[in-house]
């Protein structure tokens, strides 16, 4: 036994008191039964608490939550930060609206100069734009170009699409 061990000899004797501390009589007679009952109850209910499941699946997250349990002040700080974040996000969320307003302001003068053809123009522009991107509209272009622009029977100038029908035979004249 070295000198260091001898120096702690008295302390080690004192620590033997701990070995004489015993739980209430009969305590261990029911201990295992209680454990097994709790396991059975847990299996029957299938009820692990949220924190127990979290501890098993993501211990780091459970430890993170435990920090809040020990330091309630942090919860307040975190809540205040979240509120601030929310307010800031609302404020910054208004910015895109302002940008779209600016775009409308730019397009309004063009509408004023174009008069009634604005709708046509914008539709044409849209068709052009979309045909550039997809080609679907391009496939329908011939169809749209064949559609008569006036009423079916009211075309002036004799459209080649429509011929008058004649039911009389050639020898009847």
């Amino acid at each position: 036994m070295n000198e260091t061990e001898q120096n702690f000899e008295e302390l080690k004797k004192l620590l033997t008191i701990k070995r004489h501390e015993v739980p209430p009589p009969g305590y261990f007679n029911h201990f295992s039964g209680q454990v097994i009952s709790r396991i059975r109850a847990g299996e029957a209910g299938g009820s692990q608490t949220f924190m127990e499941r979290l501890q098993a699946e993501a211990p780091w997250l459970a430890n993170f939550f435990r920090v809040f349990e020990t330091r309630p002040g942090l919860i307040g700080g975190m809540a205040a930060s979240l509120c601030l974040l929310l307010v800031l996000s609302v404020i910054f969320a208004d910015r895109p609206d302002a940008a779209s307003k600016n775009l409308l302001a730019v397009s309004e003068p063009a509408a004023a100069t174009g008069g009634g053809s604005v709708g046509t123009m914008s539709a044409t522009a849209l068709l052009t734009a979309s045909s550039d991107s997809s080609g679907i509209v391009a496939s329908t272009n011939p169809v749209t170009s064949l559609q008569p622009t006036a009423t079916l029977f009211g075309q002036a100038g004799g459209s080649p699409l429509f011929q008058p029908a004649n039911f009389m035979s050639a020898g009847s004249h």
Binding site: R19, H20, P24, F31, A56
Partner: protein, 207 residues
């Protein structure tokens, strides 16, 4: 009978006994009778470790039960790299240290009674009647002072003292349980003893 002695006799099987592995296999398949046997085998040692760490019977009871339940739930993840006994201890130690961190500044005693053999322990009798300057101090008072001093240690230091000096575990076992190297265990033990000696200078003077 003192707590570790009780543990040594009633926890008859040593961790190396093949029966333990059989019980673990059965328990993994959901055999609660086998697990009940494992609980009975280790309940006293697990309870004692937690009790010496918390100095509170009710907390020790709750934590010991929780440790056994958690071990059962996690049994499928037990790879068998260490003995079940060491693995169970590790669960109990981690659970206790986490609990103590949360309970900080809210420590309260609920000390168990000393058994009838205490007054016949020659070391303790000598300590009280001869060495102690306060000769009139009783064993209960000494018990309280000792627990107060232990609670002043940090959790890892207290754990090493409890496992080594109270429960008689080897440095190697403690290193495995606490998931650290033997050098760390030795240095923690030395530091913890020094601290304790400082707190209990009236009762445990260096030789």
């Amino acid at each position: 009978m003192s707590m570790p002695e009780t543990a040594a006799t009633s926890d008859a099987a040593t961790p190396a006994e093949p029966l333990e592995t059989d019980l673990v296999h059965k328990a993994r398949r959901g055999d609660l009778d086998a697990y009940d046997e494992l609980v009975k085998r280790y309940q006293q040692r697990i309870y004692a470790t937690i009790y010496h760490m918390t100095a509170n019977h009710e907390d020790a009871n709750d934590l010991a039960q929780d440790s056994f339940i958690k071990a059962y739930q996690a049994l499928k993840s037990f790879k068998g790299g260490s003995s079940f006994y060491t693995w169970l201890y590790r669960i109990a130690v981690n659970k206790t240290i986490n609990f103590l961190k949360q309970r900080k500044n809210k420590q309260h005693f609920s000390l168990n009674d000393l058994d009838f053999q205490t007054e016949n322990n020659p070391d303790l009798v000598a300590l009280i009647s001869h060495k102690t300057p306060l000769r009139e101090v009783g064993l209960t008072e000494l018990q309280k002072k000792l627990n107060e001093a232990l609670l002043k240690l940090s959790e890892p230091h207290r754990m090493v003292v409890v496992l080594h000096d109270v429960q008689g575990q080897s440095h190697e076992e403690i290193a495995e349980i606490m998931d650290c190297n033997i050098g760390t265990v030795r240095s923690r033990l030395f530091y913890a003893r020094q601290q304790l000696q400082g707190y209990l200078t009236e009762y445990a003077k260096p030789a």
